[in-house]
Symmetry: C2
Subunit: 185 residues, 2 copies
DNA sequence: GTCTATATAGCGATAGAC
DNA sequence: GTCTATCGCTATATAGAC
């Protein structure tokens, strides 16, 4: 649990950024190394293979998701409100890790798909006691999935650094959250 | 508008199938050619480049989406019910074209992401007059997106040929549809 | 319209110096 | 711990026979 080498984290950040901005095909070892400011050999000292790089990224996602579950459990506004609110993508570390993992999953990495399922299931389990029934839970999870999916297809907005997609913002989002809350809690 | 060569369609089918089953990276020209029963050279007679293959696939998606809009407009059960019901993935031609396009979009093909946005917008426009307000439309679209997203991450089920994911089925799905309908229409 | 053969380029990974 | 150099493989695409 001691802090990992700085270069290692920078490589992981770079890999994730390229995955999000340009897709799995562009996230080569050379491109990742250059973006991280190390050589290909330097990268391969920290991650013995490309699969190893993927594993490192997924482990970081798992840790971030765990943190989020803790925050959700102690949220003053209640678990459900917290979950809906944070399903709106704001470009934080967890959002970025989820989008990057989705790219890998769709590129054919089964471990990424598995991790995403696992994280989703953990969220569902945490929310289950706080919604009226299983149907409401399904609705809640699917709306959240839909928000992530649309953002995953959107481009990164150069202005805000956030992800721009055909997803409601501002007052529209507030109204949506209220509608979902009424239908599920 | 006369019917296209048979080999061309077979190549498109093969490309789509590999995209869905194994991801974008595995859908190489060689693998596609073999699955279609032609040589690499034969494939490249019909599609001058890999990008051309992608374009051909997206054009087919556009045509299938257009057909679906026509069916939706004349559905006896009403547009909204038709839309929710057919958001459940059953492995038909449109479903497969959408999943394959999603794979390409996440692999970094901007034209695929663009086409998906366009198709989604066409659906939204067709549904808008039949839901109570814009918030309801957002909810409806996001649930549909969520269903597709989960299925896109799931594996193809060897038994049914359908796509298996963490998505409600049977009675659970009927209940979900009813809940969404009540919240939107 | 379909084939084989080949050119060219880029990727992941290894070896070994520093 | 980080580098350069290089190997081996595979991918896209071209050329030209049939």
């Amino acid at each position: 649990m001691s802090r990992p080498p700085l270069a290692r984290e920078r490589v992981l950040d770079a890999f994730q950024a390229i995955l999000i901005d340009d897709g799995e095909r562009t996230a080569t070892l050379a491109a990742t190394a250059e973006a991280a400011g190390v050589s290909k050999g330097g990268l391969l000292y920290h991650f013995a293979s490309r699969d190893d790089l993927v594993t490192g990224m997924l482990e970081r996602l798992e840790a971030l998701a765990q943190e989020d579950l803790t925050l959700m459990a102690s949220a003053e506004e209640g678990e459900v409100a917290y979950f809906i609110r944070t399903s709106v993508m704001e470009g934080d570390d967890l959002d970025r890790a989820l989008i990057a993992a989705a790219r890998l999953a769709q590129a054919g990495f089964p471990t990424a798909a598995e991790m995403l399922r696992q994280v989703r299931e953990a969220w569902a389990a945490a929310l289950r006691p706080h919604v009226r029934d299983e149907t409401a839970l399904n609705l809640l999870m699917l709306v959240s999935d839909g928000l992530y999916y649309n953002n995953a297809l959107g481009r990164v907005d150069a202005e805000t650094g956030g992800l721009a997609g055909p997803v409601p913002t501002g007052d529209d989002m507030t109204a949506l959250i209220e509608l979902v809350r009424r239908a599920t809690v």
